[in-house]
Amino acid sequence: MTSAVSSSVPRAQKTWTYPPLIRPQTLLIALALLGFLLATGRDVEMGRMVRMTGEAIWATAGGKVDSQVARGLGRIGPSLFPLQMSERQEISRIEGFDRSHLPWLSHLEVVETPIQVLNPDTLRMESRPERVEYLVKPLGYLGHVAVKLWETLEIALWGTVLAILLSAPLAFFSAANLTPSRIAYVAARGTVSFLRAIPELVSALFLVLAYGFGPIAGVLALALHAAGFLGKFYAEDIENADPKPQEALVAIGANRLKVLRFAILPQVLPQYIAYTLYVLDRNFRMATVIGLVGAGGIGQELKGRFDMYNYHHVGTILAGIFLAVFVIDQFAARLRRRFL
């Protein structure tokens, strides 16, 4: 086989040597990089991480070792189950409750609890059953979580819509081949970096102070950060678009906006759809996080339940978030396939 290859062509001169796999410079850079990784890895305790994780895996597999990680996870995990599905409400607290028209799928439940009361005749404490009637909706909490998830999705969606509107002019001015002036370019680039540098959670903290609790703060926090992200990526695609069609339009007297619309947008649109779908996906996940600081959505519910030690509720919420992220991902993949 090899002899066939080597004998079929006359030998080339010595100056023809096939490039080696690794050159000395590459090796040197790789070694330097390795040293750097080792040094920084020690700072962030990667050694301890590996040891503890190993112990946890060993302990789970039945090994006789005391693992702090396995113990911790072992306590939290089961406490999330069974997931909370139902919702129970005292009917005395429901305004205008109508016994003959119960909501769909729900039923009444009577709970008798013994309570101690003072008998005025004997002046003794007596145990007496107290009847409390509850309205039980078997899937009530699930419904509540679904509503909150939908609200979160709405926040993510509007965060994305505002981000697109905000990033479009930013991208125009921060693309070197379209920007009308150097000053506009620097200003736009600066704004884009600034927006991207502030994490959603941080801006949400301030926006909650400004706009109060609720979805407005959430939408704005998501929109500002995502506008920085989209502005950067939109602009880079504009700069990398094939210049030939652009020149063809400049040659017949089209202005910048027309060139953008006719020669650049059609080229970059599929990529833009991909970025925007990624932002929608990310915004949904971030929307659950910024809910923690009171910016609306499922995160606010999650924080409340966590603080009240309602771990079964927390379990339902986490399962719901996972499901929603999965569904959004599938939806995005489908859209992406259509356009790419």
């Binding site: 030939k244 069609p245 017949i252 089209a254 906006l257 027309k258 059609p266 080229q267």
Partner: protein
């Protein structure tokens, strides 16, 4: 008056030195008659593209000037020049992902208000014209919606020609319009360009690499070598030895020397 009519495009001592020191053109002087089909010949790097791009201001000469109807091209006159001069490109200059219809409108952008261009509410006359021109160059109605990238090379260049006619130009410059097409399609495409131009009295300035096609289609052949004119005259005046002279063997590409 006849003098001006005679010189539709006048190149007067055009020189171009790029920032890196390359002297792409040097003292190029010739005229193109109104309605003529003028072909530029010359080996790679002889300055054909650079010369063509001077006609619509994509490059500005470092010496000399280009005049259209006696009017020199300046920064002030450039917008009006670009309205009257269309261009056809070697790689078609179309946006592959955009539909043929959108690409056609692209040829009329100079005459469409920006808000209409951006909103997609193009003036009806231009939409009509796009259809009429595509029919003239032999495309089918269902090509309109197809992305330009889904057409064959020959079809794409037909779109390129149709697009160049959108604003009824006086001049069409074509930079190697058939470089990526097979010989049969090349001939058909040049035929179409020549006929369309003749029917409308359009002056064509076209660079080619195929001497046979130049001899077949040109009214005037201008040959460049290393940025200088080595021939200017009708095809009949071009002998085989003259052709060999401006395609000097030492400048031929590798493959043809074996």
């Amino acid at each position: 008056m006849t003098l001006v009519r005679d010189k539709h495009i006048a190149f007067d001592g055009i020189g171009k030195r790029f920032a890196d020191g390359t002297q792409a053109l040097d003292g190029v002087t010739f005229n193109v008659r109104r309605g003529a089909f003028c072909v530029l010949l010359g080996p790679s790097g002889s300055g054909k593209s650079t010369l063509l791009r001077a006609v619509n201001g994509l490059t500005s000469p470092s010496q000399g000037e280009v005049r259209i109807d006696g009017q020199p091209i300046t920064a002030q006159s450039l917008p009006s020049v670009r309205r009257r001069v269309s261009m056809i490109h070697q790689h078609f200059g179309l946006v592959d992902r955009a539909s043929v219809a959108e690409n056609m409108i692209g040829g009329a952008l100079a005459a469409i208000p920006t808000w209409r261009a951006l909103s997609g509410l193009y003036p009806l006359p231009f939409k009509r014209k796009a259809c009429d021109l595509l029919a003239t160059v032999g495309l089918e109605p269902d090509h309109l919606r197809r992305p330009a990238g889904a057409l064959s090379g020959g079809q794409r260049q037909r779109v390129g020609i149709a697009r160049a006619l959108m604003l009824d130009p006086e001049i069409i410059i074509a930079d190697e319009p058939v470089a990526s097409l097979d010989p049969k399609v090349s001939r058909d495409t040049l035929n179409l360009l020549r006929q369309a131009a003749q029917a409308r009295g359009v002056t064509v300035l076209c660079s080619l690499h195929q001497v046979d096609l130049a001899l077949e289609f040109a009214d005037q052949i201008v040959a460049l070598r290393q940025g200088r004119i080595v021939h200017d005259g009708p095809p009949a005046a071009l002998s085989g030895s003259a052709v060999a002279r401006f395609y000097d063997a030492s400048l031929q590409p590798m493959e043809s020397r074996a």
